[in-house]
């Protein structure tokens, strides 16, 4: 590499052309010319050498953080700000974990990428499993049997043949067919720090037994599966199985020491069984249609026992060689680099069985270019590189420079990216449009609400007084204002617990909460504060005065919020209550104490939220189901709301198939909770995403987690635009050097003068 540099003086200053040449200095800045020339040459040459020379590419922009070998590679670049804690599908639940496990593991089912409402389709399964209902004696029942007559449901899952696992050392065998790495000595493991330190790999065909093995792993005593409690209520015998495994493990550990290898195929239970090589069955209590949604989550992905055996060898865990760190799947990608302190890399699984891009979608998908790849083999990218970038400013700037293909929009950069029109519609700013950046928005399948503790003497309970107090507060808290001020318009006011996109949500007038809104001008309009004051008076708090004390009513808001963002929010909340002349007192605590208060049921008003696990109303309405009360039953009903009518409807509704009957039931349940107002329904957040022009096939999907395979990038266009956007600008550096030299000359002269002076 020649480090030649041409410095040219142009109208705009010194430019630094990309092409190399001989060093020619046309700079003329008086008597410091030589000095400037030499200094600039040395510095810039060194600089150029370090940035480009070492990486061996001349086209590469200097600020490119990636290796030059990747310049035009078919790689998707993204970022993460928090390292995933778990990649073991039995334990992983957080969204930042499923972002990776979703691409690696293949559960039996998945969601259609384009269709809405969200629709389940087979992934590794051949077809969607249809449950067979049984009575107590095990006799098959017709499909239209009433729910209370169904004792068990049996789901038979038939998986596709010929699916292979990614290459992995757990499958590697020697010539005699014995596993190479299943009996490693301490010396063998001593020099292994990563999976690639085991040079030989193998694979094998996916079997139904692998799915059964994983379901058994949910009950493994050394794993902490977050869904064990829930699944134990449904999968027949899982609870007892967990206890049995704990006992067996103790016995084994006493002999083998820790960690002991528990071959789960040696221990069976009623709830799950292998039918044949490609078929398995899950038996659940009663009717539980939501099981199909769980079958689309990595909890129900296959785990080969070989991998379990491989990772359970003594010494592996100490080297971080665990299934929690190095997943083994059949999906389109495999995790080849897992250094969550820096980067995580997913690469195309060479053994992937192949899948084609969907050929159907919503009517507008074709016009949006989302069906261009219809029927083509996926995945489209070779690699996805996720870089750790904790701070929003560098992340945002790297997106603008083209070094990330997509970005969310933080509050700091919102005004730079988006302008909200008079009609409330979000549009890109000229700067974004100038870079051909696209904006995609979608309402998240989640809800953020303000809850009342129904066990509280003042705001809780089923009395008319408390109900009217809650309704008054619900009207007074102006969530439309909140959305404008605190989320830059990224959200819609909630009319109930169910967000759009989930069955049971109703659009338009039938879907509004009549206790807080009226339907005017074709849209919901918040009722006036006078109405709230009237309700407050009817509740016995005339003018916000508590009749017991004769003083303004004091309510308590328990919040774990801290930091600079908390004060504006709390001030705003104070203002909302002030509209009713009610005094709000904040009880700020750390998150642990807040959790404790919620568990004890000692909070009064709090803020909470919920993200959908699956697109079913049951997953939201269970948050208000009495037997799920947090204080009494440690469930997810944080408000401890209990309504016999609601609970009875919920028990019927939760296991029903979607249809008019279910919708009517949901409508009735919503009417009950809207009237009782255990929550101020808050908002459903709206996700805004920015996409570069080279990034396509990106349709927001709030439920599916295995969407990487659909994405496509145009690396050539990206490389071209990156180079165009990131031309180095050097004249300020040279100018700075010149100023430095000019300023140092008088000092040098003074130094010389002083040196010649006689001592004083």
């Amino acid at each position: 590499m020649i480090f030649g540099i041409i410095l040219e003086i142009s109208a705009s200053g010194l430019q630094f052309p990309e092409n190399n040449g001989n060093l020619v200095n046309n700079l003329a800045v008086g008597e410091f010319r030589d000095l400037v020339k030499n200094t600039a040459t040395i510095l810039l040459s060194l600089f150029y050498a370090s940035v480009l020379g070492l990486s061996g590419c001349e086209r590469q922009a200097w600020n490119n953080p990636y290796p030059t070998t990747e310049a035009e590679a078919n790689i998707l670049y993204s970022a993460f700000d928090e390292r995933p804690n778990h990649l073991d599908p039995a334990q992983s639940y957080a969204s930042n974990e499923i972002e990776f496990t979703g691409q690696i593991y293949e559960p039996p089912l998945e969601y259609h990428y384009l269709q809405r409402p969200y629709t389940l389709i087979p992934l590794a399964a051949e077809t969607l499993p249809v449950p067979v209902y049984l009575d107590e004696q095990g006799h098959t029942l017709p499909t239209n049997t009433p729910i209370d007559k169904i004792a068990f449901s049996v789901y038979t899952v038939k998986i596709q043949k010929g699916i292979q696992y990614q290459p992995h050392p757990a499958f590697a065998r020697d010539e005699a067919g014995n596993y190479l790495y299943h009996h490693l000595s301490a010396e063998d493991i001593e020099n292994a720090f990563e999976l690639r330190d085991f040079p030989r790999t193998g694979t094998r065909e996916l079997e139904a037994g692998d799915y059964v093995y994983q379901i058994k792993r949910l009950a493994h005593p050394k794993l902490h599966s977050p869904i064990l409690g829930l699944m134990s209520e449904y999968i027949v015998g899982l609870n007892d199985y967990a206890k049995r495994l704990a006992q067996e493990y103790e016995k084994l550990a006493a002999v083998q020491g820790e960690p002991a290898y528990l071959n789960l195929h040696d221990y069976d239970f009623e709830g799950v069984r292998i039918v044949d090589r490609y078929t398995y069955q899950i038996k659940v209590h009663g009717k539980y249609p939501q099981l199909l949604y769980w079958l689309a989550m990595p909890f129900f992905a296959p785990i080969p026992p070989e991998a379990d055996k491989f990772y359970t060898q003594p010494g592996m865990k100490e080297k971080n060689l665990t299934l929690d760190w190095y997943p083994v799947g059949t999906g389109p990608f495999m995790l080849t680099v897992n250094n969550p302190n820096r980067e995580m890399i997913l690469e195309r699984n060479p053994n992937f069985h192949g899948q084609t891009y969907p050929t159907t979608g919503e009517p507008e998908d074709a016009a949006a270019g989302l069906l261009v790849d219809a029927g083509k083999m996926m995945p489209f990218i070779d690699k996805a590189v996720y870089k750790l970038d904790k701070e929003s400013i560098p992340l945002w700037n790297k997106f603008l420079q083209g070094y990330y293909d997509t970005s969310g929009i933080s509050s700091d950069s919102f005004d730079q990216a988006v302008k909200i029109g008079a009609d409330g519609e979000a549009a890109l700013t000229d700067e974004m449009r100038g870079q051909n950046i696209r904006l995609v928005t979608s309402v998240a399948t989640s809800t953020s609400y303000l809850g009342f503790n129904m066990l509280d003497e003042v705001v809780g309970g089923d009395s008319e007084r408390a109900r009217k107090l809650r309704q008054a507060i619900a009207i007074a808290i102006d969530y439309e204002e909140f959305i404008t001020i605190f989320t830059n318009g990224r959200g819609i006011s909630a009319q109930g617990p169910i967000p759009p996109g989930i069955y049971g949500y109703r659009e338009g007038e039938p879907g509004i909460n009549p206790y807080v809104y009226q339907w005017r001008g074709g849209k919901p309009q918040r009722r006036g504060i006078e109405e709230a004051k009237r309700l407050l008076s009817e509740a016995g708090y005339q003018g916000g005065i508590d009749p017991e004390t004769g003083q303004p009513l004091i309510l308590y808001f328990d919040s774990p919020m801290a930091g600079p963002g908390a004060k504006p929010y709390l001030d705003w909340m104070l203002k909302q209550f002030k509209k009713l002349e009610v005094q709000l007192v904040f009880r700020n605590t750390d998150y642990n104490r807040f959790q404790e208060k919620m568990l004890k049921g000692s909070a009064q008003i709090y803020r909470w939220g919920w993200n959908a696990d699956y697109p079913d109303p049951e997953n939201f309405l269970f948050l208000l189901y009495g037997p799920n009360g947090k204080a009494k039953f440690k469930g997810e009903n944080a408000s401890n709301y209990a309504s016999p009518e609601f609970d009875a409807l919920f028990e019927k509704m939760k296991n029903m198939d979607n249809g008019p009957e279910r919708q009517a039931m949901i409508d009735r349940m919503l009417a009950i909770v809207r009237r009782d107002a255990p929550w101020v329904w808050g908002l459903h957040p709206k996700a805004f995403g920015l996409l570069h022009s080279w990034y396509t096939n990106a349709k927001p999907n709030q439920i599916a987690n295995n969407t990487l395979k659909y994405k496509r990038v145009d690396p050539e266009l990206r490389a071209e635009l990156r180079a165009q956007w990131n031309r180095p600008v050097l004249w300020p550096i040279v100018l700075l050097l010149v100023i430095f030299v000019i300023s140092i000359v008088p000092a040098v002269q003074a130094f010389r003068r002083r040196e010649r002076m006689a001592a004083r």
Binding site: E391, P394, L400, N592
Partner: protein
């Protein structure tokens, strides 16, 4: 001197026990084992059984510091404090609550920290001393006055501003280096230029002004006047007499920092995406991972003690009058 060092090392043991005890107390005042379990198990669908199981598996089902159910010495040893602390003294950091080997993580993350801290430290020292000597040399001239003004101005600016401003100017506007990121070996150079430069510039104000004060104090002493009276050149006076005699106060602040270079800087590493140790402790506090917190606090204490011992030793090297006994 060896006896002195051994004595200092022995003194360190009760200090480290004390540090451990305080860390332990502070951590468990804020976080209970139940809170830790809840945090690690996730916030959704966490059952009481799962919490009990997690605590058992991670050894947090024992009493904190005293186990009245156990006989004899086990009353003290079968506790969370003892079980978690004693291994630290042989530098066995154990496993983090998320299952990662802490020693391995530290060994991986300390090098990127060092890659920023060492050049920043060495180059910075050179720049600060040079600038301070320059101001001392031109004392009471416009260079000194403007130098001090510049120092005060630089001191007055927040470190975060240097980072954000530097990234904006150098990376975003001029496109000269990547905004953030890291790579191994020589490829790390382009990622380190900016954080090192910002680290140096950010420290110029305070350090140069402090060193200038030291040098000016030395310049006014009799031996300097004598040196000048002998007809020595001003540079000789500065480098051979003033700088050498000003080294003790400089070393006091500098040598103690050398071992701590491994620990890294939270903000710099966070903004520049450097996978160092800077954010390791903070992340662990956020995720309530006591295993990492206690290890990092212990390591920080050990390094600080080593730094203090090295400082004492360095005194003997620059000032022959000092003897360690």
């Amino acid at each position: 001197m060896i006896a002195y060092i051994i004595r200092r090392i022995l003194y360190a043991i009760p200090i480290l026990i004390g540090v451990n005890l305080i860390t332990f107390a502070l951590f468990f005042i804020v976080n209970s084992p139940d809170d830790m379990a809840r945090m690690h198990l996730g916030m959704k669908r966490v059952t009481d059984e799962a919490i009990v199981k997690w605590k058992q598996d991670h050894g947090y089902d024992r009493p904190l510091v005293y186990n009245g159910d156990q006989p004899g010495l086990s009353k003290v040893t079968d506790t969370i404090f003892f079980q978690n602390s004693v291994r630290l003294f042989v530098f066995d950091f154990g496993v983090a609550d998320n299952g990662r080997d802490i020693g391995f993580d530290i060994s991986q993350r300390m090098w990127p920290s060092l890659a920023i801290a060492l050049p920043t430290f060495l180059t910075g020292l050179l720049v600060y001393i040079t600038f301070a000597l320059l101001m001392a040399f031109f004392r009471a001239t416009y260079i000194d006055v403007w130098g001090v003004i510049l120092c005060v101005m630089l001191m007055s600016v927040s470190g975060l501003f240097y980072i954000i401003g530097g990234q904006y100017l150098i990376s975003k506007m001029l496109h000269l280096v990547p905004i953030s990121g890291y790579d191994d070996g020589v490829h790390a150079f382009k990622f380190l230029v900016l954080p090192v430069l910002i680290g140096i510039v950010g420290g110029v104000g305070g350090s140069s002004r402090w060193y200038r004060t030291i040098f000016l104090e030395e310049i006014g002493k009799d031996f300097v006047r004598t040196a000048r009276a002998k007809g020595l050149r001003e540079t000789t006076v500065l480098f051979r007499h003033v700088l050498k005699n000003g080294m003790i106060p400089i070393l006091t602040g500098v040598v103690v920092a050398i071992p701590l270079l491994f620990i890294g800087s939270l903000i710099t590493e966070s903004f520049f995406g450097i996978p160092g140790l800077g954010s390791y402790t903070i992340d662990a506090i956020g995720s309530q991972d006591f295993a990492i917190v206690r290890s990092m606090v212990f390591l920080g204490s050990v390094l600080y003690i080593i730094g203090l011992i090295l400082t004492d030793i360095s005194y003997t090297l620059v000032d022959p009058r000092i003897r360690l006994q």
